[in-house]
Amino acid sequence: MIIRKRLAAGACALLAALAGGIAPANAADGPPKDSPKVELVLDVSGSMRAQDVDGGSRTRMAAAKQAFNEVIDAVPADVRLGIRTLGANYAGDDKELGCRDSKQLYRVGPVDRTEAKTAVATLQPTGWTPIGYALRGADQDLGTDGGTRRIVLITDGEDSCGQPDPCDVARELAAKGTHLTIDTLGLAQDDKTREQLSCIAEATGGTYSTVRHTKELSGRIKQLVRRAETPVETPKPVQGADACSKAPEIGAGLWTDRETFSEHRWYRVNVKPGQELRTSVSIGADRAVDRDYGVLVRAVSEGGQELVRGAESGSGRTDVISSGLRFPNGQSGDKDEKGKESRTVCLEVSSSFSAPANVKRDPGLPVELAVDLVDAPDNPSDVAAFGLGRGWVLLGVLALTGLIAGLVWGWVSRWRVTVWRAN
């Protein structure tokens, strides 16, 4: 696997280098269709004029512009980058208009460095902060065709529009099953901004950082863009049922689902004889939840008998709670007829997450289900390696046995000689 990946990566790099060398102007032949996509969403609201970055020597806007220039220079060849602004155009007091002021500054695609930089240079701190509205726009900009999708939101304040609530928007976008991650960067350190940005990041499995220096800002954005590039297996959506008989059949692979509080979801897996079923379940805490929580995954036979379970509980701050189980269908040394035919195993996933009353229930918590079917050797063998012994007692027993055997052998042969002589 690793070899193949490396080779492929090497080949890709070579191709990219070749393509870059031969036709630098032809940007349309850039990255393949499923290459990762990142959209930078920049707040250009009036407050970005504040001069408090790098210890007060630079305005927030100047810092953001410099960071963007550095990021544009460093974008890896196979990442498609887009830029969207919010609050860049409407300077008036009409909330209605101000809260719909978000525009795509640079379309998501292969980056033309000069063009992108020119576009960024024209920005002037202007209007409102419609974060929720901008996130929806960014999600549309990214499209839905393959590849990882990432939004990096850079802002210096909370949403000044109220509706839609950006945190709800983030959760709604994450629940669409399009593998969207939103990372947030805060240029201001007030409590409300931090709370809102943390909430947005938490809802999509992203990260939140505060920024005080231009260097931190550009470093962090570059890191997030690089992160988008890391190849990762994307889970397939599945919808579990509330009973085994109605449950969808899933095979080996990575699956994702949503499960509301105290809901149980069932899935079915067909396990061939000699195979071992391995399942890991992670349930994400993508909103404010109560302090104590747990997860339970059970493998149940079609008849309703529990075969094996995995459970975990915890308390305190967490991103996910996970557990797993193994279930081999028959063992190699098994004489039992049962292990000779494939069987359906039902998986039941539940969690004991709970949340304060003011927390939204829908959509449910994200569930990630990793199912693996391996042709497993599951040989209990002997408890000790190769059945070998160890220790002084073993030595004593062997020596004593040897001594007794020698003595008996000696006496027997003496007795035989005596009998022979007598005859």
Binding site: I2, I3, K5, R6, L7, G10, A11, C12, A13, A17, P76, G186, Q189, R194, G205, G206, Y208, S209, T210, E216, R220, R227, T230, P231, V232, P235, L254, R278, V308, R317, T318, S322, S323, R326, E368, V374, A376, P377, D378, N379, P380, S381, V383, A384, A385, F386, G387, L388, G389, R390, L395, A399, L400, T401, G402, L403, G406, L407, W409, G410
Partner: protein
């Protein structure tokens, strides 16, 4: 059944594979004239990024020191391989943000999960630590149980395969979230010795991404149990000869 002949063959095979892998990778690297883009690695090949979930966990080799720049509150993930008979040990150090920007003490925690994402207990070490407001860094350690080559399916004993490391902040003032930190993680493994050399075999857990340890997933075929058993057999044989000689001796003296 674990046969004594099998282990050396798999070892030889894996050695051949490794050699082939080395050839291929160097060839690939030479062709590309630059390291592969996905491996954001430092000078010695150690990773300089961390994953943000089980799926994106950065692959580590045993003994490699991985670093990562992150923000307080991020969940950082790595994964490393461990084979049977090994006792994995994880050490994580976090260089905290400047004391001037912090508003209180912070609790950091190191969790280790097996390939099935089941949390594994630490037999020793300090996986949770509270850093006071003045501390510049905090170090967590966790030593796992000995990895067993086989376990019943109802047990959550550590088995050969990948192990996930999760490093995060569990408690701190809200105002301290999002500040820049630098994390450093190292996973090593100690050989548990012949006393813990066990039999049996299972396919390694979720081991597609990580590289097989030097001694293979099932550990080396050699253990000091061979010495004890062979030594015992020799001792038994000598005792048998001694016993035999003892019974013959009186007859020889009688003949004189």
């Amino acid at each position: 059944m674990r046969l004594p002949f099998k282990a050396p063959t798999t070892r030889a095979a894996s050695a051949a594979l490794l050699a082939a892998a080395a050839l291929f990778t160097s060839a690939g690297a030479a062709a590309a004239a630059s390291p592969s883009p996905s491996a954001s690695a430092g000078e010695d090949g150690a990773p300089t990024e961390a994953g943000t979930g089980f799926r994106t966990a950065t692959v580590l080799k045993q003994g490699q020191k991985a670093t990562a720049d992150a923000s307080t509150g991020d969940y950082l993930y790595w994964q490393f391989p461990a084979g049977a008979g090994q006792q994995p040990q994880v050490k994580a150090t976090v260089n905290l943000p400047e004391a001037a920007t912090r508003h209180g003490s912070a609790v950091w925690q190191l969790d280790v999960y097996d390939g099935l994402r089941r949390r594994q207990a630490c037999t020793s070490g300090e996986p949770t630590k509270r850093a006071s407001e003045q501390d510049t860094s905090v170090t967590m350690t966790c030593t796992l149980r000995t990895v067993r080559p086989w376990a019943e399916r109802w047990a959550n004993d550590p088995l050969p395969g990948a192990y996930y490391i999760r490093l995060t902040l569990t408690d701190a003032p809200d105002r301290d979230h999002g500040l820049p930190v630098k994390a450093e993680v190292e996973a090593t493994a100690k050989d548990a010795g012949g006393a813990r050399a066990e039999g049996g075999e299972v396919a390694p857990l979720h081991a597609a991404a990580v590289k097989e340890p030097e001694d293979g997933w099932n550990g080396s075929w050699w253990s000091d149990r061979w010495a004890w058993t062979v030594g015992g057999a020799v001792l038994g044989a000598l005792a048998a000869i001694g016993g035999y000689v003892l019974t013959r001796h009186p007859r020889r003296s009688a003949q004189q």
